[in-house]
Symmetry: C2
Subunit: 455 residues, 2 copies
């Protein structure tokens, strides 16, 4: 039996196992779920043992454990380090958008619905199953290490020190991450670039406490007004960010790379249909897929000031707060971007109020060399798994751990992601499409076979 036949034979068992894992509500950001997070880590560890890993460890951290496992029984073959996460996003569904219980997985019309179905339990799970299929059916083409963390959805605070402290143990020839997506089943794609992130909080303060808007309106600069006046100046009329120096380090990919990227465009009508927006928006001079991939952004993620309840309150608020994040691209520096935004907000702040910009979170962008043998192996594997040569794309989101692996382990990172744009990661009715589950398994097996053969 070859590994592909093994995958087909065991499909039902695999799905049952994944459903068992998805039932554990391992929401890492909510401490009320700490026990569930621990249960998910233990599930992972015992599963890694079951598929044949020789060393399996649940590593304690200050918060949620990291599951580490390895099998190094193929001396002379390359070593792959597979990263994934077993924690999930909160549900947070006051308006009841979920059609079924997020932690009672359901297969419907070819999709598996559950929180974490794609992000990232489902994708981490098929990595384990691909390795299992290879181990059960012949000689292993690669050595394997697994690092599966439980804090990806809450900042990965303990993963970075773990990597730094275990550089030798984690040493690998390739790092593989399945935590991204492709454009569609018909047009598979591989992410080779991710944006970085610099997330800040902008606070504008005026009076020492809330005032009566009748008595003081017109003579006290309303901090909410000052804030909107500052924020409105952060983009010009053509959608460009006005922060001085913001674009200085931005490298626009060359014509060849832009041509390659243009093979995976974002269609205006599809974007409208998928999001419900009346019309797209963005920086003049760039196509939609470029605005979302190779160009940096500055987004308001939250606004709050004064009275936000029902009805009216005639308050002149003491302060106003905005959450603002920048998605960064090569060669921008996340800390420098913070400093530039902070200084610009300071410069835009009128003498009638005060302001402060606080850095809340940052992560580095990452780009993988398309021409590397690993990427070529990935493209070959995708073509095998999905029947069509994949295009390459720059993803707008951020996976800061990619940069950490690149710099700490000096190893190339390959992103083998099998999500789809409508999988609703972080949203209601998250799903994993079974065609992605099947195609992903085939792709992974082929990838490891190819990497092993390249060596």
């Amino acid at each position: 039996m070859n590994p592909y036949e093994y995958l087909e034979t065991h499909r039902d068992t695999f799905l049952e196992e994944l459903i068992e894992l998805l039932r554990i509500p391992s929401i890492s950001t909510l401490s009320t779920h700490d026990d569930d997070v621990r249960r998910a880590a233990e599930w992972m560890a015992s599963h890694l043992k079951a598929i044949g890993m020789t060393t399996v460890e649940v590593v304690k951290t200050k918060r949620h454990p990291i599951v580490y496992a390895e099998w190094l029984g193929a001396p002379g073959k390359p070593t792959v380090l597979i990263y994934g996460h077993y924690d999930v996003q909160p549900v947070d569904d006051p308006e009841g958008h979920w059609n079924t219980d997020p932690f009672e997985p359901v297969i419907r019309d070819g999709h598996l619905y559950a929180r974490g179905a794609t992000d990232d339990k489902g994708q981490t799970f098929i990595q384990m199953k691909a390795i299992q299929a290879l181990m059960q059916t012949g000689e292993m083409p690669v050595n394997v290490k697994f690092v599966i963390e439980g804090e990806e959805e809450s900042g990965s605070d303990n993963l970075y020190p773990f990597i730094e402290e275990n550089v030798e143990r984690l040493a690998a020839d390739i790092v593989v991450i399945s935590d991204t997506g492709m454009k569609s089943l018909e047009a598979p794609s591989i992410v080779y670039g991710l944006r970085g992130i610099t997330y800040v909080e902008v606070e504008v303060r005026g009076p020492a406490h809330d005032l009566h808007s009748g008595s003081f309106g017109g003579i006290v600069h309303n901090p909410a007004q000052a804030l909107v006046e500052i924020l409105a100046q952060l983009h010009d009329e053509e959608g460009r960010i006005t922060v001085p120096g913001f674009y200085d380090r931005v490298v626009v990919p060359d014509a060849e790379e832009r041509a390659e990227l243009s093979k995976t465009p974002i269609a205006e009508d599809k974007l409208r249909r998928e999001t419900g927006i009346p019309q797209s928006w963005g920086e003049a001079g760039y196509a939609l897929h470029e605005r979302a991939g190779i160009r940096p952004t500055l987004e308001i993620n939250g606004l709050v000031s004064g009275w936000t309840g029902e009805g009216t309150k005639t308050v002149l608020p003491a302060k106003a707060l905005a959450k603002v994040s920048c998605r960064t691209v090569p060669e921008q520096d996340p800390v420098e971007i913070y400093e530039l935004v902070r200084d610009h907000v300071k410069a835009l702040t009128p003498p009638t109020v005060t302001s402060e910009v606080r850095l809340l979170h940052k992560g580095h962008w990452a780009v993988v060399d398309i021409q590397s043998p690993e990427m070529q192996a990935a493209m070959h594997a995708f073509e095998f798994g999905f029947g069509k040569r994949p295009t390459v794309v720059r993803e707008g989101g951020s996976i800061p751990v990619v940069g950490s692996f690149q710099s700490a382990l000096k190893a190339p990172v390959v992103l083998l992601g099998f999500g789809l744009p409508d999988d609703n990661l972080h949203g209601p009715n998250e799903k994993f499409t079974l065609a992605c589950f099947d195609g992903g398994l085939k792709t992974l097996v082929k990838f490891y076979e190819t990497v092993g053969a390249q060596a």
Copy 2:
């Protein structure tokens, strides 16, 4: 014993009674406090009976009751209708700015601290005590009617129909309202003009649901950004409101009235000290007291969009909301102002999002004739109560009921208000200064004596 001696003799009892009233958390806007609001109404009714009113009624409405009382035992004498309210603002103090429990009144350094201490339980209370002092010490100079509502802080929705339906019953020669303030104890002042109000909610909508700001940032117009861009355009660089037609009906008072008003300026340093702001703000070409009195304003009372909790969430919000209110002046029309703002927001809304402006609340401005005998009696009484002839001011706040009384009862309205600028109405540590309590009582007794003598 004359009424002034009576006031002195009974001061301690009066304060104890007021503290009892202030203990009732009669927050009219929160339905969880409905029982408290009813208790406050009953307290008022039984107190009005106790001071000698012959008819006392707790009038049911669709929401909170109106307390009506009358004593008409002085035929031939003028009838005064005293308006006040027994409901209070919410506390809404997440950061713990209150030094003591808002509903456990405390006297400290000559001030009585409690929610409603000035606005308006304290001021309504001293009206009752002034009438009591007159009734207990001699012949009444006036007939008295009381209308005390429980919805002033939540829109007075049921008061207007009550006035309209009871025009004959409420008939009076003068309407007296103690729900305003004076500039300081050393420089007493009487409010003769109030601004109107038009309160709207501006909602900007983009995608059908929240999106991932990494995947969609840069191609979907962020509704929070669109909102701040719209709001930032509502004032020009000189603090003028840019809504077309907004100022068309505004009447600037003549030179004589402006000269009179300039006797009660707002000092920059005092404003900074009282509010904690670094510098004043406002419309070019007008003094501070004019910006806050005779000029209209447009204020942001609240902002909310996306993630407003601690830390970070990389959301591109589906919608953004602002609460915006305009303070209006003669001869602006509250509904027309709503239509102008609505149309301007619509015109400023880019095709990448949609917007809606909803009218939440409106009230008419009011101006009282300074030369009328009632206003002259009021000035005389203030001079007696506070030892100095008062100046006249236009107040920035709104008491929409003033206009309703003027138009429905065809009676002059006099505003005898004893708050101070730092009383923190609607804010934390609301207080009533005891010197205002004492001076207010003397002023009210003198006012009713003077009005009685004028007849």
